[in-house]
Amino acid sequence: MSNTAGKGAGSRQQRRWAIDLRNARSRGNQVSLLATPASLIDRTADFQLEAGGGDQAALVEKRSWDVALGPIKQGPMNFLFSWMAGNTISIYSIIIVVMMFWRPVQSLIQYQSVFRMIEGRSSILQKLAWVLGNLALLGIALYKCNSMGLLPTYESDWLAFIEPMKRQEYMGGGLSFQ
């Protein structure tokens, strides 16, 4: 029931209702079904891409830089989020902080797929920029943790690990019995 006629499937024998204009010129000595109109000016040469041309290198470079600077572009958004989260500890703030913390960690873990996308001359620099960008995001998250008081920066946070002073002498007694 379905029409199985493809582009070149036994098309010479059957009636062709699709004309492939692309290869018409290159197959010069083949039978051309249509002649070109008289007023046609051939500008196809202008639009042809050269494989491995200089423009292509620039585009690759551009794309790599886009990927490398991706994390840094997220920075301002993170700042906005951390300002929204506030300094107290509530469920909303915890969610935001955890999210801010987890995203750069997750992308750092998946560095391989990103590094595959970065190619070109200054790929080392771009890779470094990407890593630094993620670390900067982490830094913002840590700063948020610090300002919420979650980091053990004060002496009182280490109080539980202080050992009691050991005694070397033993003493006993009280009011004398007699």
Partner: protein
Amino acid sequence: METEFAKKSIEKILDIHGESVVVIVGNRVFSWQSQSGQLNWEIVLLNKEKQLINGYYVEEDKLVLLVDGERIYGIQIQNGAVRYRKELNEGVVDCSLHSGILHVTTEKEYRKFTVGDGGALDATPLPSTRCYLSKSAQIACLESDGVRLLTRHLPLSDIDSMHSLRCGALFLLETEASGNWVLDAAAATIVEAGRSLVVGVEIEENCVPLKLVEKDGAVEVRPVGGLSSALPDARYRLPKDAGRVAMFVPVITRNTIPLLIVWTDAKQLLVLNTDGAVLWRRDEALAEITAAEVFDPPPKEDIEAEEALLSGPQGLFSSMMLRASSQLHMLVELLDVERLLRVETGRPALHRDRFGLRKVILVAARPNILMALDSADGSVIWRQQVADAAPMSEDGSLHLWMLRSASHQRLTPVAALLAATKGNAKKSVVVLFNPLDGTELDRHILEQGALQAILAPIANSHHLRPLVVLDNNRGVHVFPLLEYSHVLSSANRLFVLAGQRETAVLSGYRLRNDAGTLKGELTWQAALGNDMQGSKLLSLVTIPANDIAYSQGRVLGDRSVLYKYLNPHLVAACVDTADGLTVSLLDAVTGEMLYSTGHKRARPPCHLTVSENSFVYSFWNDRFRRTELVTVEMYMFTRNGSDVNAWSWPRPSAIERQAYIWPDVIASMAFTTTHRGITYKDLMIATQAGLLVEIPRAFIDARRPLNPQPIHREEGLLPYAPELPLPYDMVVNYHNYIERTTHIYCTPAGLESVALVFATGLDLFFTRAYPSKMFDMLKEDFDPKMIAAVLSAFLIITVVTKRLAAEKLLKRAWK
């Protein structure tokens, strides 16, 4: 003050028809309503206290007659007015009220008075200075070779004392050589009564002297001699641990004695009946407890106990035998065979319960009584009278230590009692016994008398901590004796502190290993009092061994730390100088004084108690007439070094102190403790009014600020207010007032959130305190079965409906 009055004893009680009760204490006479306890009247006779000879109630004139050493008083029963007061110019020897006339014998004369107005009737001279009157006013005079009655002279040698038997014409004569004799002055006969106790009772209008004969727990009451044989012999059984009978009162109906009320020298009151049963029994020695130790009963035989048993170094065969016997014990418990075998006592086996809340309380009471109480219901597990022991002469105390607890399988627990010997108060006796059943294990007499004693810090291989006693000659004794070498090895780390009450001098001794013998060496002395005027050392407390601080500092509002100054060698002393009180804090190993303060116009009682880095003391401020409570806390700003000896121990950087006003008079104070120290420590205060109050630490904090800043609120400090509140929901004992509390013992329980409190005094009180609420126990309405049932129901329903839904979808797809 109340405490001085409390030491007097009641000399006479008169029951006025069950409506009111007249009580004579010293030189005061009280009358209370019998039903309501309301005081009717109270009078003071004269400032000088004379020994009361006797007191009578005269029905017709509604008078109370009192005869003391020199006077006769007639007091109206209605309003306590003294109707008359007669001075007798000689000392009164004896008196008797008979047929409306008061008969009095003095050293020279025999006089009679009318009771209505004290008028003298007549006076006759007496032949000797010691003449006594019987109840029916017969005179008998004691002479060197016998007894002289009005008409006759009865010879008897070596009479020590004579007194009337309060019945008819009977007297009791006590001789050292030949026991007791009963004199019937009317019939002029003397009958021998042996060495038994004698009581005179009235049976059918006759006065019969009865004697009590004790033999192997069987007690018999018989008439003396052949004076009356109308009474059948009455036999009773006295329990073995009741001691010897000191006084007895037969309850007589017709001419039988169905009940016998007995007071023993072990301070027990028993009522015995002729079937050999004890109707009821009271241990009055519990009112005179001087030392108490609370410990865990032995754990049940179970897998954990078995593992603990086998954890030590053992050979192959012995560990196999241990495992086999442990399994056998467990089988026996499973089948509850023990319950069948233990028919006699009817008490459930003494085992630890699941949370370690059931304890055995071992107490030592005056004069020489040891008892163990079950903390579940306060019943007495065993009682024992320690032979040849007496309270220490200094303060009448006995001392207890637990050398080995009952937590170790197969090792009997050992406790030690230190007391003075009965004959000679200068010598001491140390008795080692098993605190689970009172059997005596060992006993030693210290010729020099004990000065102080400490428990050795390190237990030997059998988990026993020897008791090290320093005697008055600086000799050192170790009990049990076999542990001498064990203590010798650690001798140079042991220090003993002794404080003299009368001179307020503290002495620190060091134990020295002197070529194989232990010797005590005096290292420091501190004279805390004022030499010019007399000073007395009132109380001395050291940090208790079970006082553990879980957190080493306090977190302040700005998240910095104020470290607690935790010195395990601290000792606090309170000295009563002539013009006030001095409280000092010393390090007992080096003798260095860390803190000292004086309170002018402060009076005892001074109660001191220590916990972690703070100590709290209370005194009576005479200027403002109120009780004040002072908290002193010691802190360090930095912590460095962890393993130092006492001489390099840091000093406190800051000592904070604050005083508060307590609205009552304090009888005793103590801090609660727990095993790990995580729970807060509340202060238990027993007031003189009978309340036991639990005060949270926050109220008596020394850092409560006068002008609170936000940083203080951050820390959680209440603003300072001088009065301590006494809200009634902090009173632990509700309306069960406990009278005359002398000491509060606080012990940890198996659960961290529970602290056990035991208050002794005239009344005993045992309770659990929850200073941080009950954070480690599920609520009672937590129903695990219900939750499990609901969960499993949900699971089943989920699986079933999933299956059903899949089937339905499939069916629909096939349509």
